[in-house]
Symmetry: C2
Subunit: 178 residues, 2 copies
Amino acid sequence: MKADTGTAGTAQDDPACSGQLPLAAQNGPVSLLVSRVARLHRIAAGKALKGLGLYPGQEFLMMHLWDAGPVRQSELIKAVDLDPSTVTKMLQRLEQAGHVRRRPDPDDRRAVLVEATDSSCGLLTEVQRAWGELEGHTLAGLDADERAQLARLLGRVEGNLCKETADCPEEARRAALR
Amino acid sequence: MKADTGTAGTAQDDPACSGQLPLAAQNGPVSLLVSRVARLHRIAAGKALKGLGLYPGQEFLMMHLWDAGPVRQSELIKAVDLDPSTVTKMLQRLEQAGHVRRRPDPDDRRAVLVEATDSSCGLLTEVQRAWGELEGHTLAGLDADERAQLARLLGRVEGNLCKETADCPEEARRAALR
DNA sequence: GAGATTAACTTGGTCGGCCAAGAAATACGC
DNA sequence: GCGTATTTCTTGGCCGACCAAGTTAATCTC
């Protein structure tokens, strides 16, 4: 209904007009930026982790397991703040991949204890390295001040979205400490 | 196999030490922040869009269609920079939901022309509103300077990750203009 | 202690994403 | 022209993520 490109179909006869921002997103340029950065970042992380036999998302589960040792699944769920069913399925796959071990909790027969396997601990180092590289790519060209600024602003944004979503671990953590 | 928390298992007897950041992510605190913000932002967007009959992600497709009018599917794919199969399936669902119409391109019998339906154009306004609200929540409490800073820094980050991923529309757009 | 409630998973379904492989039509090379 | 790419889209499979509904076990109530 506009943009009758006509010519080639390459659709970029929009020279310096309207700033190539979708009309529907004019009200939220930063949100659009966040979405794009999010996607690119996830792709980059996925690429780095693929070589390690991890799918994007599983890293966070493993990180918590590496840090906390054997935990009840319910606690893991709270920690990563995901849907229980999501965690169940991820753990099934991680278990089959040999990165995780699960056993029933003797003290509570409906609960399950989860821990990282020894073999997975080799991954820890590599994930740390990959995560560091990712950080490097992400922040390339930013000096220390800018990095601190970005971290600070993202922290504020996280707080904002947490309050909105209301199920943020941040708030829970803070509340638990009082 | 570390963090012999021992005591309760609540795993937060870590008072003011190491800053509650996963060990594996110590090398990438900003990356972790980005991931968390990304997820929260997507959830918030999804919530806002759910009432409109859109699933998270479909917005971007619709935005391009609203802006560009009837386009070939291949162009849509380049615009949103998604996998062709992803777009195919999303369009099938959007078509069944009545938000999109598809017809074969008379000039190229393997191509498909896609356009937003009239009924979907009512959504445009609501998506704009929702997107504006989302922006509001996201940036609540940030003054104009901070917002500009955040946008600028996110732009830089996007550029960085684009170069890495190499298939960013940004670069392509810029390259096409030279 | 029997019954209702809550907590801790699991299963099935759906959607957004990706990859790999295929089918169909166009473009290219000769 | 004919055969070979190349483009365009589709299908199937997999994974992360959600919701809804169900199962089993603990807990709370009386």
